[in-house]
């Protein structure tokens, strides 16, 4: 029994030895010496350059992206401009001086305003002419609501359902306890 156990151990060891066995090829040493003798690979020299170029590209893309957002803000008429249409300077002239936090706020605000500019434009004679490619939308006209005109008497309401009163017997605590004991 012990002999067989030792035999199996020996077999496991021999197989493990075989699985990591063999000698490296002659090319290994030759390749190592060749690579040592070779000058430093060019790739190593460009890596910092590539990294710097990538960083510059990212920064440039960010600047362009942020700049694009500002243009969007500029295009949207300011609330003040809606009240005072005669003002000559475009409302966005103030925007670049605004702190970054307010720019974000203006952007969300501008999203809400986007559907309204043409309504205002209908009330203002100074509305800018639509640029090429833009669709001209006719101003909405909303009739004032007249509550008196709504005929409430004409509304048919179904008759209510009669519910019979429910007879509820008063609770007796002693009785409940008695029920539980039973």
């Amino acid at each position: 029994m012990e002999t067989e156990d030792r035999d199996v151990d020996a077999l496991v060891d021999r197989v493990a030895h075989t699985m990591t066995g063999g000698a490296p090829s002659d090319a290994l040493r030759a390749n190592v010496l060749r690579r040592i003798a070779a000058p430093a690979p060019r790739a190593a020299a460009w890596r910092p350059l590539v990294a710097a170029a990538a960083a510059i590209a990212i920064v440039a893309a960010s600047v362009i992206w942020l700049g694009r957002d500002r243009v969007v803000v500029r295009d949207v008429p300011d609330r003040a401009a809606a009240v005072e249409p005669a003002r000559d300077e475009p409302p966005a002239a103030v925007v670049p001086q605004a702190p970054a936090a307010t720019v974000a706020a203006r952007e969300t605000l501008s999203d809400r305003r986007v559907s309204r500019p043409r309504v205002r434009a209908g009330n203002q004679s100074a509305a800018p002419a639509p640029a090429a490619g833009e669709v001209e939308i006719a101003p909405l006209s909303i009739a004032p609501v007249n509550p008196g005109a709504i005929a409430l008497g004409a509304v048919a309401v179904p008759a209510g359902v009669d519910i019979e009163p429910i007879d509820v017997r008063p609770l007796a605590i002693g009785r409940i306890a008695g029920d539980q004991l039973e």
Partner: protein, 185 residues
Amino acid sequence: MTDDELVRLARAGDVGAFDQLVIRHQAAVFRAALAALRVREEAEEAAQDALLRAWKSLGRFRGDSSFKTWLVTIAWNRAISRRRSLSRWFARRVPLSEAGAIALDGPGPLDVLRDRERARCVARAIDALSPKLRDALLLARSGEHGYEDVAVMLRIPVGTLKWRVSEARRQVKRRLAAEGIVDGD
């Protein structure tokens, strides 16, 4: 010339001295890489990377361990890093027929066949071990590295290494018993 003397010369830029070190230790470096990667081509690549890295890092060799241990540890780390990045390494292990070709004593052809089949089963069982146990067993039994060296390579105490080798053997035997290759009693 000793390894230390060659290292001193190599540090000074003597490529010939480093070449001598490569000749002495390339087999150990290769076997360590093969134990991790199990594919000859990958092991050669890893060994090459390790030797090149050793050449570049000679200045950092402090002599805490022998040069061979330091070198083989670099090879092991390179191979493990390579193994992690290889998704296909599982599918490209050393063909089991190589393990089956192990020279075992057997007087007759039937015995040889039986032993080869057993060797294949053992190789499969070793393959099925967890990486920790398999690495310990293969490195310890590669015939190139002592327990002390392997413990340094794996960054574990010698006692832990011995336990892993023993546990690896035990699990292989249990699997062989389950397959009816050996008695499980």
